[in-house]
Amino acid sequence: MKLIIAIIKPFMVEPVREALIEAGVQGMTVSEVRGFGRQKGQPVFYRGAEYDTQFVPKARIEVAVEDDLAPRVVEAIETTARTDQIGDGKIFVLDLEKAVRIRTGETGDDAL
């Protein structure tokens, strides 16, 4: 199993959700997060004072999937969330040791 974490632009959450469902994903977790990457945030100006190390609002998507599905999920996120502008985000793929569905006690792929 893989845990895929994607940091994307907030307005890309909806297109990515649709693409993931299309790819066969059963569920996902989305949180509002802030951070910055190589561009060091967006410069903002308040009355001439520049603040250029601001954290930029982002969305963090977490999806746990079977190993076979992982490449399709990564590709779906990558193609959907790409705007070719700075700050499109990153995708991280982690090995997932165990998954448990709390209601039924199922584990592994069955819990996904």
Binding site: V44, F45, Y46, R47, G48, A49, Y51, T53, Q54
Partner: protein, 463 residues
Amino acid sequence: MGLSSRLGRFGAAFLMAASLAAPAFAQGAPAPTPDKGDTSWMLVSSALVLMMSVPGLALFYGGLVRAKNMLSVLMQVLTIVSIAALVWVGWGYSLSFTGGSPYIGGLSKAFLSGVTTSSLAATFSNGVYIPEFAYIVFQMTFACITPALIVGAFAERVRFWPLMLFVVLWLTIVYFPVAHMVWYWAGPDFLPNQPGDHGLIYGWGALDFAGGTVVHINAGIAGLVGCLVIGKRIGYNSEPLPPHSLVMTMIGASLLWVGWFGFNAGSTLEANGLAALAFLNTLVAAAAAALVWAGIEQAVHRKSSLLGAATGAVAGLVAITPAAGYGAPGTSILLGAVASAVCFFFVAKVKGRFGYDDSLDVFGVHCIGGIVGAIGTGIVAAPALGGQGWFDYNVLPAVPGTYDIAGQVLTQVKAVALTLAWSGGVSALLFLAIDKIIGLRPARDAEREGLDISAHGERAYNY
């Protein structure tokens, strides 16, 4: 007529009980009765000016600080207005608007002694009066907002009660004398018989329609001195200190703009065509200034910001204040535009260059905008440019005086220089003395935690 004896047209009103109005009126002539329209306009204007401080200024400033200091700014403005109102009734009105010396009035009307519902205050027209209580409350609102303006310069890093002590002393030693020097005069019906009965700066012939010198330069320079004495905020230039709610700031700026019509158009003291002109000038100057600031930002930063446009509007309002009743709409637009550009330069460039932490740009907008407006008044008031000129009240009835732009500009510069020196110098002494004796700055931890919790024990926002 030499400059030294020129008398500006709308400097202020003299107040005199109707029973004292002997010299100008023929024996047996009926005592003047205030016009109900004038009286209504003055009461409405007074309420509008109060709206500028609470809620206008409080929300404007509050939105510009960080969330942890929001309440402290609201509290400072609210309390300063309350204190100033009481001090005004106690001794402020008397020190500002009774005769005495050219520098300060006397205490004959302390605690409004002798003022009744039938007491009258002069306006700028021969034979036209308003109730003295209306004049007292109108001028009171100016005394309320001026010290409240100062706190923006050192917002987020000042102790509450020492600041309140400063306000009482500053009003007494700085504001009342300046108001007296700029605005006090014997009134149109009395001046011919009492030619020396006016404040120093008024006697020079300086023009200040609604308080460019008394309010904005006065408060602005005191703010600069205060932020220098208190020092920079912890984290200034090393961590972001952005405004926490520009929506609040927009609400505050909007209330300021609306209230400013009472400030400027009310300063005519009558509901007439001149009040309408001052109203119109106020509107167009602010509009031009807002657009100019937004335009400069577009050119410099490639984006026009709301805070920039709102700041520009305030800068335009400040600049038109001394000129509101003197300029023409066309010249008022130019004055607002120029002031906006100059204020932008000070806020965006000069402040960074010299590194003072004028938190909310009290110096950059109010003092600089006030100076541009005060000096510009000398130009836009010229009848040759469509201005209203000045009236010579040394004769009864008053007649228009001969206008000399260069001479008037020089007089305006003199008035500005004296105000900067007096307010800057005395404010510095007051700040230093209070800082030395009881301390003006909160402890580091208290400042880090935010003044809402450390000084007032409450939060602006509970999620």
